[in-house]
């Protein structure tokens, strides 16, 4: 397996970019570069002449990449959307992981497949970490909101904390809503009234 492909990673978040580069370097590719913004992509493409460009599916800069692919001639190493209809599994895995790739037209699938697979694996890991992080952040936010709602009830009705919580929980049960939603409504209303 020759590992002399030139790989360009488009990723604004430097931590994520480093993460993907490390994964590719570990897997044995040596020509890996990252850029943060597509505004200078044409120059980067000319400079690095990438065989493959990796970019998050959710990145709006994809539209700019498409354009460069559409207008560049074969000599300037056009990039083409990677959707190998012959490999449904890989395509679906890439979509699920949130990675899209632009590949020089005519490059053999077997040469890029492992790059894509490495990227998919790393994207999945990052996505997992991100969602855990988001969940932890959300949990912390929710707790703060519930604490504030309890505080409001404790002050207004002169009741202890556990009783305040029971009140919120009962209201949520009665209305078929989540505790956090009731707490949020209470906090919002209180902010408006104060």
């Amino acid at each position: 397996m020759r590992k002399d492909l030139s790989i360009l990673v488009v990723e604004a978040d430097s931590v994520k970019a480093k993460n993907i580069i490390d994964a590719l370097l570990e897997a044995g590719w040596n020509y890996v570069h990252a850029i943060a913004q597509v505004s200078g992509l044409e120059q980067s493409v000319a400079k690095h002449a990438p065989d493959i460009v990796l970019i998050d599916i959710a990145n709006p800069d994809r539209d700019t990449l498409e354009h460069i692919g559409a207008v560049s001639d074969a000599k300037s190493r056009a990039v083409a959307m990677f959707v190998d209809q012959t490999d449904q599994h890989l395509t679906q895995a890439a979509l699920a992981a949130g990675v899209s790739a632009y590949v020089v037209d005519g490059l053999q699938m077997n040469r890029i497949k492992s790059v894509i697979e490495t990227a998919i694996a790393r994207f999945q890991m990052m996505r997992q970490m991100q969602s855990e992080l988001d969940a932890a952040k959300q949990a912390l936010e929710d707790r703060k909101t519930v604490d504030r709602a309890k505080g409001i009830l404790m002050r207004k009705r002169s009741i202890p904390e556990d009783e305040a919580y029971k009140l919120i929980r009962k209201a949520a049960m009665d209305q078929g809503r989540k505790v956090i939603d009731v707490a949020q409504a209470l906090v919002t209303a209180s902010d408006l009234l104060s």
């Binding site: 539209d63 700019t64 498409e66 354009h67 692919g69 083409a80 979509l95």
Partner: protein, 382 residues
């Protein structure tokens, strides 16, 4: 009886309104549809998701289904346009720096504007557009195509970033859909010099697209979707409904933008420079009036021609604008249908009555700024 769930992709723009209103005001529910709107980060992502079956239908730039049918741009697939979602609605403008250099220009005069641009610095004019296969790009290419001396470099910039690109000098000019033109003016980094309709009086802008095979396999859902969108578009073009439309579109789950940037496109009153008095632009954006949702096959043919297609390609393009389904699905609910499915594009210079299923319908001007006309009647739909 539970509703059919339909996943529909869209990019948050003012002209997503027919889809947003169809959901929010219950036009979709009335048809038995649970219209699930899924925001997409880019046109490329939306196209992939539709082509690969992750979305049932989607809002698309009118040239996208045509380009895909012609095998251009990444992902070839048989995608059809069920109906138009909007006509016109885009603006062309320049950075404040360039506006100052050009001096006073009357609004909406493509010829004068070209002359002014030719006499500026010799370096290429960098113009930002949202996507290579967009009406913005086709109108821009058509317009500058009449001035071979003008050097232009077309750059694709995601519309939400267009204001930054103008402010930072990455582009000198922009051709965008609303609300992004108004957002640029609001920030004081650029001015609007004309609307898309000054280059082509009646251009199909966004379409409701689905996979050809999906349409064939889901005739009932297709009919429900088309009817819901039709009713929604009709509601949107009634003057009295505009304030509520602006209110709903601005909500956080949709455009998440202030009313003042949404209002210009919906009302047709555009502020051209920061602090200026709003200017009324007739037929700036239409969802329903003047058969705006009718997918004229000649429009598909014009798009294909601009994309360099031969007679075979033009025939294939005509096929993907589904006038047949429009007649079949919307005729029974009282939609007024034009007698023909094609017209000679560019011949209508003022509002004109033409034969329709209910007697007569009024078509809006569809003339091009340079007076050319396009007759594709000789090219049979494949």
């Amino acid at each position: 009886m539970s509703n059919t769930v339909l996943n529909c992709g869209y990019v948050p723009l003012v002209d997503s309104a027919p889809l947003i209103i169809a959901r929010e005001l219950g036009f979709a529910a009335e048809e038995g549809l649970d219209l699930n709107l899924i925001q997409q980060p880019s046109w490329s992502a939306l196209r992939d998701m539709l082509a690969l079956g992750h979305l049932d239908a989607a809002q698309m730039l009118s040239p996208m289904p045509v380009a895909m049918s012609l095998g251009l741009g990444g992902l070839p697939a048989k995608i059809d346009s069920l109906m138009g979602l909007s006509a016109n609605g885009t603006v062309f403008g320049v950075s404040t720096r360039l506006a100052d250099a050009l001096g006073m220009l009357p609004f909406g005069d493509p010829n004068l504007l070209l002359s002014a641009l030719i006499t500026r610095d010799p370096q290429p004019l960098r113009v930002g557009v949202p996507f290579p296969f967009s009406m913005h790009r086709l109108l821009l290419s058509y317009w500058i195509g009449t001035a071979p001396d003008l050097k232009v470099e077309i750059v694709t910039v995601p519309p939400p970033r267009m204001a930054d690109a103008v402010a930072e000098g990455h582009v000198d000019a922009f051709w965008v859909g609303e609300p992004w033109g108004s957002a640029i003016v609001g920030r004081g980094v650029g001015s609007i010099l004309m609307a898309g309709r000054h280059v082509w009086g009646f251009a199909p802008e966004k379409v409701l697209a689905a996979r050809h095979d999906w349409i064939a396999d889901n005739p009932d859902t297709t009919r429900q979707l088309m009817r819901a969108v039709y009713q929604s578009a009709r509601w949107l073009d009634l003057e009295k409904n505009k304030p509520l439309a602006i209110e709903i579109l601005g909500r956080s789950e949709h455009l998440n933008l202030a009313h003042e940037v949404i209002e210009p496109a919906v009302t047709g009153f555009l502020t051209l420079t920061q602090g200026g008095t709003p200017t009324k632009v007739d037929r700036f954006l239409m969802f329903h009036n003047h058969a705006a949702s009718f997918p004229w096959r000649s429009q598909a043919a014009w798009i294909a021609g601009q994309l360099g297609a031969d007679a075979t390609g033009i025939g294939r393009a005509k096929q993907c604008f589904r006038t047949d389904l429009y007649r079949e699905n919307l005729g029974p609910i009282g939609a007024d249908l034009p007698g023909a499915s094609e017209k000679i594009e560019g011949t209508i210079r003022e509002e004109t009555a033409v034969a329709s299923s209910r007697g007569q319908m009024i078509l809006a001007p569809d003339a091009f700024f340079d007076g050319r006309t396009f007759d594709f009647a000789a090219t049979a739909a494949e």
